[in-house]
């Protein structure tokens, strides 16, 4: 008999949770029972629903974990009680193997960090939590007193549960008060899709049902099949409108794109960086033919004076105020229409040339999105964007996508929505706001710009850095440059602890900070190569999903409890507890006084009031019922509740979508917020923003950054590869995914490969010998001073090199001239060939715009044989 997992006994405990991985956040249920023949654990808490039987499980969905020190079987399976997100048991390879994520000393999850470590004489040595905190506190007190809060920084995930991010934010912004902060995916504390935000559209306004209910879906810079599997299979393939037409703007015809084509949809194989031209060219066709949703535009698009409304006199000092009222971008309907019709680059033939998308496809896209039917009704069109759109020409790509959606009447109705598909789940509970006024950077005028933490570090201004749950180096542009700087400031310094003694180590590290070096602390669940393994002075072991009670929202603002069901290994603790221990030692204990995770959750609720992830009503209700906040959330079961959470009478109600004036508001007498009934602007109307192709803040960079085809360069873009989650930290260790193999891949068109002597399965080196890195802190008095040409002339652009290796996968689904790698593969950093020159409008990197030569190094280890990952094309039609 083959090895089915053991059968769950009827009295097995059931614990509700949700997936640790992608934004979709499928609901999961854990069946747990003792593995040593001992007595069963106590029955589940009252009021939580139980499923009758677990779904069919394969061995990748089973594990044996430690719970209260004893071995227990666990099955982690899609929750049969879920009616939202993944009813019917939908899951991806990521969530479907959650059981194997759990720590088990018999497989590679044994590599989990279990004790704090201190680098002594170059080697990481085990120390106690007390000693690690002691060293951190002594160094921090000195750095803050001597060098100021700007020299003390945090680089942290923005998504790994409210309890953790609330504590981290409170530490950084309240206790320390530093502007030296950046999240995992950006060099500064900025908004991702700033153009979308400026238009007044909340990134996660839609419900998943809206993606399912549209008749035409425009996906800009994403294939949700690869990255949001269950959203794709549940809503995009099916949903309320199973026959929907898909339009993908991406250089890679991956699995979802291939399916969309089979259903009669479109693939727009857009040249990287040119999405704003594509979006606006489609809009122009729509406008030329009079297909715009004029009724919607008249009602919901801000007029010129409505854009300015409420800002008063004087300069526009916040970035969105500035950008939306700058003549270059500010617009209203009449102005936008005239802009579309007048711009040379948006004429069909020109647009086709710039974007590489056939004119016929541009026209067909316009037709599908906006042409009214014979009966006068309009197609229900929705617009999803992700990083292929905005980690490129960051501001203008996202602004133009929003504008296209608005022209088609999307943004605030069921099935007619605009929003991000999402990457990670929404787990940022950002306590007090960041002290942005302390940033030394500024845009032209009097506008503060968030501090670029990478550049701050490279320029030697960061004396202490605490990193939470991110690889940092591989995740940032010009990775090799950043790594060299980190090495030079840490392990290559002469000031190193020689003994594992807290007082001595603190003294040595203080000397390093005073001499211009940096002290690095890395909190993570596994050793992170190279940040933790080679450079960090202190490494702290973190407890993760399943090992502590956590909360967060998924991509439709669905809040759930991710309940604990197994023990963290060794001395690993949730990050919020590490922050608390440090804060106490620093003398800030009164602000970090939580006794358990639920108290963190409850305190964080106050700061979320009025926002997109507001769950304050839930916490208040819990208090009235005499329950901890976490318990109240547990009792809501696998569907949780969508934020903002509201109340009518005794009943809590979730918010299906934002911006929708027609959604039922039974609590309208108690709840009045623009966000629910209008767009996120002071007028409640959406803002149309122009995206002129020749804006020098973009065009100068584009001209410099493009592949030098005379040298045989290709665009080297990057993205997620379906089954690999982020840096593969779990995938390398879960038996199932590890057996498949996690290798860096480069998808390349067969003709591009042949021209370079590359065969399928070859190991290739991808190299860019002109990686631009913006240096120093150009303050920018005149606008053009922060554009590429002026930066170069003023000596603010360093030219360096970067390269990585990958296994070539020949794929005729890649656009010719463009190759694509995994975006965050450890050790082989796709970002090494990407320029670290932020968009001057937003201070965001343009990660998708790398370039390089591709040379074969001969067959890879994966080429021959029958094991390991498949090297076939993924989206064949």
């Amino acid at each position: 008999m083959a090895d089915r997992p053991p059968v769950a006994p009827p009295r097995a405990e059931q614990i509700g949770t949700a997936c640790d991985y992608c934004v979709v956040g499928c609901a999961y249920r854990v069946w747990r029972w003792p593995a040593d023949g001992g007595a069963a654990t106590p029955p589940p808490s009252e009021g939580t629903p139980r499923a009758d039987e677990p779904p069919w499980a394969n061995p990748a969905q089973h594990n044996i974990v430690a719970w209260q020190g004893r071995p227990h079987h666990v099955l982690v399976l899609p929750d049969p009680l879920a009616r939202a997100v993944n009813p019917g048991g939908g899951h991806s390879m990521r969530g479907g193997t959650l059981a194997q994520k759990c720590h088990h000393p018999g497989n590679r999850t044994r590599e989990r960090l279990t004790t704090p470590l201190l680098r002594v004489g170059g080697v990481l040595r085990e120390v106690s939590w007390d000693d690690a905190i002691e060293v951190m506190a002594r160094v921090s007190q000195h750095v803050l007193a001597r060098h100021g809060e700007h020299a003390w920084g945090i680089k942290a995930y923005s998504y790994q549960y409210f309890e953790n991010t609330y504590a981290i934010a409170r530490l950084a912004f309240d206790a320390v008060g530093t502007p030296a902060f950046a999240p995992h995916d950006k060099c500064a504390a900025t908004n991702d899709a700033a153009g979308l935000d400026d238009a007044g559209i909340e990134a996660f306004a839609p419900s998943y049902d809206d993606w399912g209910a549209c008749e035409v879906l425009f996906c800009s810079g994403t294939d949700p099949f690869e990255t949001k599997a269950t959203l794709f299979t549940t809503q995009i393939m099916r949903g309320a409108e199973p026959g929907k037409t898909l339009i993908f703007a991406t250089p890679h015809r991956s699995g979802g794109v291939a399916w969309g084509l089979k259903q009669g949809g479109l693939w727009l194989p857009v040249i990287p960086g040119t999405d704003s031209v594509l979006n606006q060219a489609i809009a122009r066709v729509i406008v030329e033919r009079g297909w715009q949703d004029q009724g919607f535009i008249d009602r919901w698009v801000a007029r010129r004076w409505e854009v300015d409304q409420g800002l008063g006199r004087g300069t526009r000092d916040t970035p969105w105020q500035w950008r939306t009222t700058w003549g270059l971008f500010q617009s209203d309907w009449a102005d936008y229409r005239a802009f579309l019709l007048a711009r040379e680059e948006l004429a069909l033939a020109q647009a086709a040339r710039i974007t590489g998308v056939d004119a016929a496809l541009i026209e067909r896209a316009a037709e599908l999105l906006a042409r009214p039917r014979a009966d006068g009704s309009r197609p229900k069109a929705s617009f999803m964007l992700e990083k292929g759109n905005y980690w490129s020409n960051n501001y203008m790509n996202s602004a133009s996508l929003a504008a296209l959606g608005l022209v088609c009447g999307a943004g605030n109705r069921p099935g007619r929505v605009i929003g991000r598909g999402g990457g990670h789940q929404r787990g940022w509970a950002g306590a007090p706001g960041m002290p942005g006024w302390l940033s030394p950077e500024k845009y032209p005028g009097r506008r503060r710009k968030p501090l670029n933490l990478d550049r701050w570090l490279i320029d030697g201004r960061l004396r202490f850095a605490w990193v939470f749950g991110t690889t940092w180096i591989g995740a940032m542009a010009a990775s090799a440059e950043l790594e060299r700087a980190i090495a030079a400031l840490t392990v290559e310094r002469p000031e190193q602890p020689r003994r594992a003694d807290a007082a001595h180590a603190a003294e040595a590290l203080i000397a390093r900070a005073d001499a211009g070096g940096m002290v690095l602390v890395d909190s993570d669940i596994y050793p992170v190569d190279p940040l933790g393994t080679r450079y960090a002075d202190i490494v702290l072991p973190a407890a993760t999903w399943g090992e502590a009670d956590f909360t967060r929202c998924n991509g439709e603002r669905r809040l759930r409890l991710y309940a604990r069901f197994c023990d963290p290994p060794g001395q690993a603790r949730p990050d919020w507890q590490a922050v608390q221990a440090f804060a106490r030692r620093m003398g800030w204990g009164d602000r970090f006084a939580w006794r358990d995770a639920s108290e963190v959750f409850e305190e964080a609720a106050r700061h979320g009031r009025g926002g997109v992830y507001d769950y304050d009503e839930l916490v208040r209700q819990a208090r009235r019922d005499g329950l901890p906040g976490h318990e109240a959330l547990r009792r809501l079961g696998p569907d949780g509740i969508q934020t903002p959470v509201r109340r009518t009478g005794e009943r809590l109600i979730g918010t299906v979508r934002l911006h929708d004036p027609d959604q039922a508001l039974p609590d309208a007498d108690r709840w009045r917020t623009r966000l629910l009934q209008g767009f996120a602007t002071h007028s409640g109307k959406a803002v149309l923003l122009k995206a002129p192709w020749d804006f020098p803040g973009w065009s100068e960079f584009y001209a410099a950054a493009r592949p030098r085809t005379d040298q045989g360069e290709l665009w080297i873009t990057n993205g997620r590869i379906d089954e690999v989650w982020q840096s593969g930290f779990d995938d390398r260790r879960k038996p199932y995914t590890a057996a498949r193999g996690v290798v860096q891949m480069l998808f390349i068109h067969p003709r591009d490969a042949a021209a370079r002597g590359v065969s399928n399965g070859d190991l290739v080196r991808v190299s860019n010998d002109a990686v631009y890195v913006q240096t120093g802190m150009p303050l920018g008095v005149q606008a053009h001073e922060q554009h590429f040409d002026a930066l170069l002339a003023a000596g603010h652009i360093r030219v360096t090199r970067g390269s990585f290796e990958a296994v070539a996968v020949l794929d005729d689904g890649m656009r010719e001239g463009v190759a694509k790698a995994g975006f965050n593969h450890p050790g082989q950093h796709a970002n090494a060939v990407c320029h670290a020159v932020p968009d001057p409008l937003t201070n965001n990197y343009r990660y998708k715009l790398g370039r390089g030569r591709v040379e074969s190094l001969g067959p890879s280890a994966q080429a021959a044989g029958f094991d390991g990952p498949s090297l076939k094309p993924r989206g064949s039609v």
Binding site: M1, A2, D3, R4, P5, V7, A35, D36, G37, G38, E53, P54, P55, W56, N58, P59, A60, Q61, H62, N63, I64, A66, R70, P71, G89, G90, H91, S92, M93, G96, T97, H104, P105, G106, N107, F225, E226, A229, T233, M237, S254, G255, G256, A258, W259, E723, P735, Y736, A738, A739, R740, F866, D867, G868, P869, S870, K872, R874, G875, S876
Partner: protein, 168 residues
């Protein structure tokens, strides 16, 4: 270790790695889970001489109601039998959620898939590994042996989705 397992040891190692949960110094260890190979009475499912490259043969295996496919791929494949070691057979029930893979053979790329339900694709040259998609098991490979012109199915490596009652 019996002779049959010896000649499949590489595949066993691959698939065993995918599903064997090794045990460890936790107090009171249960018995180790067994490796993933199930033997069945040999049954002839195709004839060598009748096979054409890229043209699958469909049959039920290991029991009625469990669809399976045998095909000559034209390229050497993991677990392949025949002179070119290119004849393979696999369960045709998607290991994601049991979707039907009948009719989803992609001869040009030697794949089974995309599954009509959720689009998973399996690489038939590499022991049914998931190329792209959501399944958390490789496609179960049917162990083949040659007996003259007869191609015999003798066992299954891996679990057919939903096989057996959910509770033993």
């Amino acid at each position: 270790m019996d002779a049959e397992r010896a000649c499949l040891s590489r595949r066993d190692a691959l698939l065993a790695g995918a599903r064997l949960v090794l045990l460890a110094p936790l107090a009171g260890l249960p018995m180790p889970l067994r490796a993933a190979r199930a033997a069945h009475a040999p049954r002839s499912v195709a004839r060598l001489g009748a096979l054409r490259v890229g043209e699958p043969v469909w049959f039920d295996y290991p029991r009625p109601g469990l669809p399976a496919m045998l095909v000559r791929l034209g390229v050497t494949a993991g677990g392949g039998v025949g002179p070119q070691r290119d004849i393979v057979a696999f369960s045709a029930r998607c290991t994601h959620l049991g979707g039907p893979l009948e009719g989803a053979f992609d001869a040009a790329n030697q794949l089974l898939g995309p599954c009509p339900r959720h689009l998973t694709r399996f690489d038939l040259t590499r022991h049914g590994v998931v190329l792209s998609g959501h399944a958390t098991q490789a496609l179960p490979q049917i162990v083949l042996e040659l007996d003259g012109d007869a191609i015999l199915a003798v066992g299954v490596q891996g679990l057919v989705f939903g096989d057996g009652a959910a509770h033993g």
